[in-house]
Symmetry: C2
Subunit: 337 residues, 2 copies
């Protein structure tokens, strides 16, 4: 008598041996970028780290969220965002300021992942759109994929009670999906900053086959709505990325814009995480720094084909509430006694 | 111009002050239970820990998965499970052997959570069903809620290559939902063992308002399909429960049947975890042991009403794949070059 009725008739077995799929990856942490620091200066800093990584034969270097500018959502700008903030957005990629980065990557034969503020060309209604975006560029300089941040944190209106603003919900529209791409010998997905705190992010990417998840972030240490979380920023950042790696059998590269930027202290602690959930490389400083590791994408199988064999063990029929509901619905209050 | 169109017009603010909702909770770890250890002996052990907890004015004590028996899915039993394994299942709760636990709880005024193998009465087709079950009992001895394990790990057929079997998928049917209940001054949910490794578990419970998630487990240190995970059992167990607590702004109580049971070494490291994701109580041994903590359910608000305010920040419209797909679908292979 079989008590459950699924694909279980097939026996399981010990994990089979396989050859390696090695990739040398770097997390290229960036220190603060000043409000008026020119693009060319930032691009020079990125290129310096790219050269450092290439000198160690790194094949893929990951830069942080909004790597080309300061984290401008900390400021409320009077008037229409498109009148006052255009300087912070890229209207083409590569553009004149970023072309040297692409040229250098191609010359060095190194791929990269870069976060920036995107301003689209006008759509058919003449509207231009703004996204918090990250791209993946292959070793030949071609853009393989583009991801637009799905989970925009913070707020939309000016909130003078905060020490500094977090106006991502004013200055960006959200993306709507978690694509994955074949690149660098495996399946790659991307996420940005606050996305990493949401388990749905990693799960959606892993359901797209992701073996390597690249995450840039800008995380202020001070969290205005609940400053009791300030001292836990590093712990929380690592906790969610380590759990996301383990629960999805994927490598995660998490890369900060760290240090102090325009007076705001930001989390550093960039890292590379194995599918075991363990941190295998970590930055030691808060400024510009490259941490790297040799990763074997075949290691994902140790989790994806055993404990977390999704097609055997996931129970989507019990997960309906995850997509049916946005917010929680608690049971009704107990009657007074 | 508002770039995103949702409930954001309302300003956010710093977390408001509130009174506490304190509860004293105990994780009652159990050492091994022998195959032929009588129920009365196990119940005596549970009662001893219940009295110890009650002497510290604990209000809720949590026992592990399958607390009343040995972890019998480690054995393949020839023939029909219902002919040979009935001894391990409870056909009533409370039954003659477990009534003393309920009586003691009521006399002491302490609530409890208990995992056991459930054998249902015949349904309308005359079939009896088997579940890996956990119940929540209020301080007056009434059963408030019952949960049946959704994520059954292991396998269904005899696999002689393993040192010991993990036949949960043979001996149990899966449950199909993650209910929550108002009890103990808050909203309580339950999960069992392997459920804790799946982020969907905590998320479904938190979407039901859960502030306190009670999880019993039996986790062999040896993981046959990939023994490289053996040394990471404690790290993995804590990682997933800590992430589940933090990402859902809930307390988690994780309780082991630890120690060596019928020759199989099992993970201990029972713990109580705050909504910050931090372990605030931990067992120090591998046998019968009570760890307890005073928890303030209001602390959940620090996360549920800020960073993880689901109705403001979740993006179910981007999560469709979580319920549409069971297993992964990778991008098509790249063309040969």
């Amino acid at each position: 008598m079989s008590l459950i009725d699924d694909a279980d008739a097939a026996a399981s077995g010990p994990l089979s041996e396989s050859g390696g799929r090695w990739l040398r990856v770097a997390a290229a942490q960036l220190g603060g970028v000043a409000r008026h620091e020119p693009r060319s200066s930032v691009v020079d800093r990125l290129i310096a780290m790219m050269r450092q990584a290439a000198s160690a034969d790194v094949e893929l270097i990951v830069f942080p969220e909004l790597a080309l500018t300061t984290f401008f959502p900390r400021w409320y700008v009077e008037g229409e965002p498109d009148l006052d903030l255009d300087w912070f957005y890229e209207s083409e990629m590569p553009g004149p300021d970023t072309q040297p980065l692409f040229d250098e990557a191609k010359a060095l034969g190194i791929g990269f992942c870069l976060g920036y503020a995107e301003l689209t060309p006008p759509d058919e209604d003449g509207r231009r759109h703004r996204y918090n975006t990250q791209i993946l560029v292959e070793r030949d300089g071609t853009i393989v994929g583009k991801y637009r941040k799905v989970h925009l944190p913070g707020h939309r209106e000016h909130e003078p009670w905060r020490e500094f603003q977090h106006l991502e919900r004013r200055y960006f529209e959200p993306g709507d999906d978690f694509p994955t791409w074949r690149a660098f010998g495996g399946v790659v997905g991307m996420a940005i900053c606050n996305d990493r705190r949401w388990p749905e992010t990693y799960r959606a990417l892993a359901l797209g086959g992701a073996e390597l998840i690249l995450i840039g972030y800008n995380t202020p240490i001070h969290y205005a709505p609940d400053p009791s979380q300030n001292a836990l920023q590093s712990f929380h950042s690592h906790l969610v990325m380590q759990a996301g790696a383990y629960q999805n059998g994927a490598f995660v590269v998490g890369v900060a814009k760290g240090g102090t930027e325009e007076g705001v202290e930001s989390l550093a602690d960039s890292c590379i995480i194995a599918p075991s959930g363990r941190i295998i490389a970590l930055t030691a400083h808060t400024g510009d720094e490259v941490a790297f590791a040799d990763i074997d994408l075949e290691l994902c199988r140790n989790y994806k084909e055993t404990l977390f064999q999704f097609d055997r063990y996931r129970r989507p029929e019990a997960y309906g509430v995850l997509t049916e509901r946005r917010g929680p619905v608690s049971p009704p209050p107990l009657p007074e006694t």
